[in-house]
Symmetry: C2
Subunit: 306 residues, 2 copies
Amino acid sequence: MGLFSNLPPEVSVYEVSARDGLQNEAVTVATTRKVRMIDALVDAGLSRIEISSFVSPKWVPQLADAEEVVRLMPRREGVTFSALCPNVRGLERAKASGIEEIGVFISGSETHNLKNVNKSTVDTLAVFSDVIGPAVEAGIKVRGYVSTVWGCPFEGEVDPKKSLAIAEQLLAEGCYQVSLGDTIGVGTPVQTRDIIELFLASVPPEAVALHLHDTRGTALANVLVGLEMGIRTFDAAVAGLGGCPYAPGAAGNLATEDLVYTLNGMGIETGIDLEKLWRAGQVAEAIIGRDLPGKVHRAGVRSLRS
Amino acid sequence: MGLFSNLPPEVSVYEVSARDGLQNEAVTVATTRKVRMIDALVDAGLSRIEISSFVSPKWVPQLADAEEVVRLMPRREGVTFSALCPNVRGLERAKASGIEEIGVFISGSETHNLKNVNKSTVDTLAVFSDVIGPAVEAGIKVRGYVSTVWGCPFEGEVDPKKSLAIAEQLLAEGCYQVSLGDTIGVGTPVQTRDIIELFLASVPPEAVALHLHDTRGTALANVLVGLEMGIRTFDAAVAGLGGCPYAPGAAGNLATEDLVYTLNGMGIETGIDLEKLWRAGQVAEAIIGRDLPGKVHRAGVRSLRS
């Protein structure tokens, strides 16, 4: 067979609930509650956590308290916090906050990028030239996000070669890793194989992460493809936070619990305690005040006998 | 890579919503509404549909109208209807109804079998000796179900060798296919590979189907493993019907829409029209009167741009 003959002993889970999740909620969560949720995630063993965004509060009022979240989060050895950073103004805020990592974001689709940040991808990359290098010089790690790699809500299919060219530029500028986003959760496994194959022809596997939304239930199947092909970092959000508040019931990010449950079952270490993670999901649900869609979140973990 | 180098041009989807789904609902659905749902499934292109069960109405009152459902369903060329059949009394009812296929069911876990049918697996197999052969002689196809192959709600892990021995006996008695059930949805991909590897060492792949519940979100990932290993029949339920009515929000069967969406994306033909299937899921939700969990069901199919 050969199937799963090359599984890694461990993979890295990148937790995005406090940013990608909360920015899509209709409600703005109080700062102290965000801190409680993030602390529960740290307690569960997550060591890479995106905790907010230094975008303008006018764009994303849900995350207007970025500095306060960074200030209030207790630091722990081995845990990296990050926040999104769209431009030089964001970098200044990031530096002042003392955060150790930032994320820059751009879309593989021209239309989506325009709608998202009101700039062409060329202009966005030009902005990043004043962000990535200076951040790295200031001792701040930079992660890149390329969204809509699997498909765009406005353009439909997008050519992954465009996403690859963007990713290569982000890495050349100093990003240590680029996270490829299936932003609208349309990806299926053969497509995922083709995209990863294209990227790995010119980018080392450790520089690639998958950021999969579970809108059509395919996220874990696509993770499996990534695992088989050498990808070792996967983004996820506790309890499947994310999605669109204007489409009730629509699924958000791949749920961290579902990912960790699956990896555990495959004998792959993540450093995460699934039961504590499940409790962090309960905290998330309580502070957000709506049912969250993660499957393990809903089924429970205390006993697998149900 | 080799990944997906051996995908089939088509796979067979076995629809179980009208039995495995409805028997787990707290409400009993009116016969005419069941017929409307099944008809919508036929209209979507499903050609193998389990429509009821000839178990005692005392055990499963939700399916007490089995004869009436069989009688009312318009027959179409190329569409096979089936119903579960626990014993000789059930076979008599099946024969009288004119249904073309029956399913016999047994558990790989001794405790689960005892709780489910109040018999040991040995005694259950003895009952089947008076069902399978006589059914085949009467021109009725017989499919076998072995449940709890991945894990048991009472025993925890179960030895798949026991499920294999049962499956081999069912096939020897005359079943044309055995459907292996992850009844409580605990399966993860390496385990699935190991189980399939064990089965395919002594059973031809066309005699094996996978019946996966999506309780922890792993069903599609496990389908992918099955596809890679040569399995060509997958059970599913429209909109993810099934699950336990006593655990609100708990996921049921793998949703047919999610399966078909994924297979379509992989270029694998099923004969099913996804948009019509989605509409059948709307019918199912309307007649059952609760939100159903399928992901594509909730996200919609008309536009993939959301």
